[in-house]
Amino acid sequence: MSATPAPSPPQGQEIERVTAPFGRRLCDVAANRASGGYRVFSLLDGEGPEPAAGQFYMLSAASRWDSDGERPYLPRAFSFAACEALGGARRLDFLVEAVGPGTERLAALAKGEQVWVTGPLGRPFAPPGALVDGAAGAILVGGGIGVAPLAVWAEALRRAGVPTRVLLGFRDRNHSGGLALFSCSEVRLASEDGHAGHRGYVTDLLGVLLEGDDIGTAPVYACGPPAMLEAVRAMCAERGVVCELAMESPMACGYGACFGCAVPLAAGGYMRLCVDGPVVRGDQIQTALVAGTGHR
């Protein structure tokens, strides 16, 4: 194949971020419904600004959190899966899989309960034109529960008239609850069990796409499990394609205070994912395989 490497993107660009109200605020739980094996809960945020795609919130339930001296103790970081204006407030949706005491509590939220919310936080996705000069489109690659921020980004790109190809991968039907977040029909699917679309990984689909002669004109945006992100990062690096990865890391505070969410930089040292991410450029980091996500 003869791929033309993408033109050199602007370096060190600080993407405009939406700042959060200082502190945490109580938001009412408006709904909590099943989506495959996941839950989607909705919060009514009467105070926060409209977030940018890729930003995240720190969430903790107002009750049965840190009660009786048990975990969960710290808030949990969540990208928002949807945001809709609702009168003077906005409805924020979050996609959650119960994998530990914090996510179990959030997955069990009932309408009428309250949640402490800080956000929106962090660096959002950069527009394609900010990553690639004369960008002609965008490629979105999502896996599992990590498809949530991409659903928001896909919608923003659609409204901006950016031609967007969406590739999503799921382990099995039970872990495909994020698919319902995508309204557009232009989604190509992969599943490890073959229940939908290509049997295999979503990165197989990306590999085929990156063989096309238009690569380099569209940056890749990815969010999903660390192994998927690392595969995307490596594939893009090999082909000179600019990519942004929405990552996660163990995080106590979400606003740069605890220095816990260290991600190794390609140039040496670490970044704090909460303030320098969660959306990072693939060529900024050494690896997307972040240690410590197993203790939730």
Binding site: D66, F259, H295
Partner: protein, 296 residues
């Protein structure tokens, strides 16, 4: 006796209220990126204590750096910082915009290095006081300075002549009798002591039998250590005549009042700021309400 609230003085530094931040638990520069100028409108702390700086830049420890425990967390961050020159050039001017007295935390592995740090930091007019992080080994003796009265006294005697600015010694809780270290610090010329630092702690990955954190051991903080910290503050305050800054799991005005009743002149908030970015301001307000309620 009603607890002392409102304005306090620590070694000649006038504070509008008794609530500070623990070193390394609040990055005002990063918080301003996340929350914008709203951070300055109601800055939570009466003085700002910087993250510990060292002579040379440090990248910090490899991840994972955090482990949530029941009612607390273990951290092993490894003092990432820009080094003395980077701090003075980049951070200090921004911290000076906070509008509260600045206390700069420094750490070194020898009295010579400590001297260079203290001299360079103390001569900056933006700096109100220095906090000495002595929870580190002396390269000459191999001993943790803050675990030995004679090491602590000797360090203070070496540093005391370098500056008229207040020197605060941050005490480690990982000793049998912190009061002995506090007395040695006072004898060496310290103007105040602050305690507690984190309690030595370990998390093991049951699946592998290996330490969970990248650097092995870490320090426990949060509600889990409050009762231990309170006892140590009480012991130290009874043994010294210099002011004591108490901290360890403080999450409410009542907790703060207990530390003040135990002999602390001021208190600091650490881990609770991770859970609630405005915790310092909330605790300040709760403390003021308690004092109004307690007034005759």
């Amino acid at each position: 006796m009603s607890p002392a609230v409102g304005a306090v003085s620590i070694a000649g530094i006038e504070l509008e209220h008794p609530v500070l931040n623990g070193s390394g638990t609040f990055d005002a520069i990063a918080a301003r990126r996340a929350f914008g100028e709203a951070l300055l409108d109601d800055f939570p702390f009466a003085a700002f204590v910087s993250k510990t700086i060292t002579l040379e830049p440090r990248a910090g420890n490899p991840p994972p750096r955090l482990y949530e425990t029941p009612a607390g967390m273990i951290n092993s961050i490894g003092l990432p910082n820009k080094g003395l020159a980077g701090f003075l050039e980049h951070d200090l001017p921004q911290l000076a915009e906070l509008g509260v007295p600045l206390i700069v935390s420094v750490m070194a592995t020898s009295a010579e290095e400590f001297s260079r740090l203290v001299a360079a930091v103390a001569e900056r007019e933006e700096v109100a006081a220095l906090e000495l992080n002595v929870s580190c080994p002396n390269v000459h003796s191999g001993l943790i300075v803050g675990e030995r009265p004679e090491e602590t006294r000797a360090l203070l005697e070496a540093l005391r002549p370098l500056s008229a600015k207040p020197l605060i010694v941050k005490l480690t809780p990982n000793v049998a009798a912190p009061a002995e270290i506090a007395v040695a610090a006072e004898e060496g010329g310290a103007d105040a002591v602050s305690l507690v630092n984190t309690l030595k702690a370990l998390a093991i990955d049951a699946a592998t039998g290996e330490p969970w954190l990248g650097a092995g051991r870490g320090g426990l903080s949060g509600a889990a250590i409050r009762a231990v910290a309170l006892a140590q503050v009480s012991d130290v305050a009874a043994a010294v005549s210099i002011p004591v800054i108490g901290m360890g799991g403080i999450a409410s005005g009542r907790h703060a009042a207990a530390f003040i009743a135990a002999g602390a002149t001021a208190i600091a908030v650490g881990t609770e700021s991770f859970r609630d970015p405005r915790a310092g301001a909330r605790i300040r307000d709760e403390l003021a309400e308690l004092s109004v309620a307690a007034a005759p």
